[in-house]
């Protein structure tokens, strides 16, 4: 280097010695990523706008009463969402009722109990389940799961718990119950892998404390791991709920698509998402608008579940950093 003292600082500052990509790479990367971030915001805003626009005439015509009335009559152009809200609520909560304990059990097994070598393979297997396209899961639901539930599980449940109206005496290979089971299969991988991550934030020193005190592994889990993870588990379940509420394809395939609110979960029903998926093509403008209204409800529910879950996750992360 033979730069004289006067030019050295200016050439350093202008960066002329560096190549073009080298000089502008960082800035370009920044712009590209900024653009991507803005774009996703714009798309979310656009979708929300479109959905609300579509729903406009139904919202002004039916108001909030839409949520509490349950007739869906395209011929007389009368629309109410209660039956679909009921279908969504029962199928999603039912699925989470099964999926939550199952997911916690899987996560506990994988973080605390399973032999170390087998942990990763099993975890990968469980997560692969999340990769099965929902339409294929739905197909399996039609071909295998539905008939099996109809012939075996539903009669058994009715025999054991038939005094509860949920487990009524009429069976069908399609309906709320198969939808619940399909949604369970779809949510378990998500909820269990999130729960596993939550368990990983439990301070090892606290777990050692329980063991050193003469606690069994079970004692350690119930006194340390589970209580400490509670907010995180709730977040994981909320995200699972978000997934279940929004799932359309597989549910449409197995739920039967019948109107009405029935206590019996063994007979066909319909959810908001599957109603939108099943009916939109070729519907009248007001009918489409009513479906748009359903979509608005679905969107709000999804955002709420997702938002609450994220807040909880942030709380957990902050606490994990503190301790």
């Amino acid at each position: 280097m033979t730069t004289d003292a006067a030019t050295a600082p200016s050439s350093l500052l202008s960066g002329q010695g560096r190549g073009l990509v080298d000089r502008f790479g960082d800035r370009a990367l920044y712009l590209i990523t900024l653009l991507a971030a803005i774009l996703s915001g714009v798309i979310l805003g656009g979708i929300t706008y479109e959905v609300f626009k579509l729903a406009g005439s139904a919202i002004s015509k039916f108001g909030l009463g839409f949520l509490t009335t349950s007739n869906w009559d395209p011929v007389h152009e009368q629309f109410g969402a209660a039956q679909f809200i009921y279908g969504t609520a029962v199928s999603s909560f039912g699925a989470l009722l099964i999926a939550t304990p199952l997911s916690i059990a899987i996560a506990l097994f994988l973080t605390e109990l399973a032999p170390r070598r087998s942990r990763t393979p099993i975890a990968v297997l469980v997560e692969l389940l999340a990769g099965v396209p929902s339409v294929i899961l739905g197909l399996w639901g039609i071909l295998v799961l539905g008939p099996f539930l109809n012939d075996t599980v539903e009669p058994a449940l009715h025999a054991a718990l038939g005094w509860i109206p949920l487990f009524g005496g009429t069976y069908s290979p399609v309906g709320l119950f198969p939808a619940m089971v399909i949604l369970t299969i779809m949510t378990v991988p998500i909820v269990s892998s999130l729960t596993r991550e939550v368990f990983a934030t439990v301070p090892p020193s606290a777990k050692e404390g329980a063991l050193a005190l003469g606690g069994t592994r079970w004692d350690m889990m119930t006194t340390t791991v589970l209580p400490y993870s509670r907010p995180g588990i709730i977040a994981a379940v909320m995200l699972g709920l978000w997934r279940a509420v929004g799932e359309a394809i597989a549910v449409t395939q197995v739920i039967g698509g019948a109107p009405g609110i029935h206590a019996n979960i063994f007979i066909p029903a319909q959810t908001m998402a599957s109603q939108i998926a099943a009916q939109y093509q070729g519907a009248s403008p007001l009918n489409q608008s009513a479906l748009g209204y359903l979509a608005v409800v679905l969107l709000i529910l999804s955002l709420v579940f997702n938002g609450v879950a994220r807040l909880l996750v942030r709380g957990v992360q902050r606490r994990a950093k503190v301790s």
């Binding site: 020193s205 404390g209 003469g214 006194t223």
Partner: protein
């Protein structure tokens, strides 16, 4: 609370250790009428069994291929405090963690040799690890109360593990808090989170938690290293009071502390036990040159 051997109801729980039953029953006193416990509120620690002798024989410990403890022979005498000193990484923690078998909780870790509690080999076949840890309590370097539990529940946790009857728990929690010198500071706020206490109080909470299950042996791994001098002094006083009832081993980096609390001091160096003897002698006139150098601060 002065210690009188003749007053102590010695509960012989040797059988429990060798049984594989995961939840050893508490002292066999189901026939006692329930009102008895209210007549003798401090029943908890008075029922503590006599102190026990711990003897390590040719103890080796490994982390994978790392040979961390290399054939240690050492005794923790009843009624005495044994201090374990040595430079960082010499295997002090590893050695004491072999005694309550916490060492084996670490993936890839294993150990060899004998750890005798009186004449029972704690590492022997048929010995239930959960029972071992109920006999051999442990206090860690960093206070680790159960993060979600109240002060009361922290101390009661171990009692609940053993299935102690509800009506006994309150008395024993109070007695343990008393024994750990924490009672006066937490009285009236037992339902507050354990985490709301100061660092020194949390450490004494952990000591109370360990004492509540009435261990025969208490292992303390640098219990004061995160504490200020006042809190340290409190714990040292506590060690002095407890040693009559519990056999105590203290790992420490602090020579003065070893000098203040320990009757016997053991010096370790790169996984080996260099020398063990009366604390007084170890600090003034040790046999081994390396001990001399270490205690006078010439290396380490």
């Amino acid at each position: 609370m002065d210690y009188e051997p003749s007053d102590v109801t010695v509960v012989d729980r040797k059988d429990e250790i060798t049984s594989r039953i995961p939840r050893p029953a508490e002292a066999p006193a189901p026939a006692s009428p329930p009102q008895q416990s209210s007549e003798t509120p401090a029943s908890g620690l008075e029922r503590m069994h006599a102190t026990r002798h711990i003897r390590l024989e040719d103890l080796h410990a490994y982390y994978g291929s790392n040979h961390a403890v290399k054939g240690v022979n050492l005794s923790f005498e009843p009624g005495k405090v044994t201090a374990i000193i040595g430079p960082s990484g010499c295997g002090k923690s590893t050695m004491v963690r072999c005694v309550n078998r916490m060492h084996e909780e670490i993936p890839g870790a294993r150990s060899q040799g004998r750890v005798l509690l009186d004449d029972v080999d704690l590492r022997g076949p048929g010995v239930d690890v959960v029972a071992v840890r109920r006999f051999v309590g442990m206090v860690f370097q960093k206070a680790n109360p159960f993060p979600t539990m109240s002060i009361f529940d922290n101390v009661a946790a171990g009692l609940r593990f053993t299935g102690t009857p509800r009506d006994e728990i309150t008395d024993r929690v109070n007695a343990a808090l008393e024994a750990a010198g924490l009672w006066d500071e937490v009285e009236g706020r037992l339902s507050e989170p354990g985490m709301s206490l100061s660092g020194g109080q949390q450490q004494r909470l952990c000591i109370a938690r360990a004492l509540a299950v009435e261990p025969a042996v208490l292992l303390m791994d640098e219990p004061c290293s995160a504490l200020d001098p006042v809190a340290t002094l409190k714990i040292e006083e506590l060690i002095g009071q407890l040693k009559q009832r519990v056999t105590i081993a203290v790992v420490t980096h602090n020579m003065q502390q070893a000098g203040r609390v320990a009757d016997t001091t053991a010096f370790m160096l790169s996984g080996e036990l260099v020398e063990v003897g009366p604390t007084e002698k170890m600090f003034t006139n040790p046999d081994d040159e390396r001990t001399e150098q270490y205690v006078t601060g010439k290396f380490g």
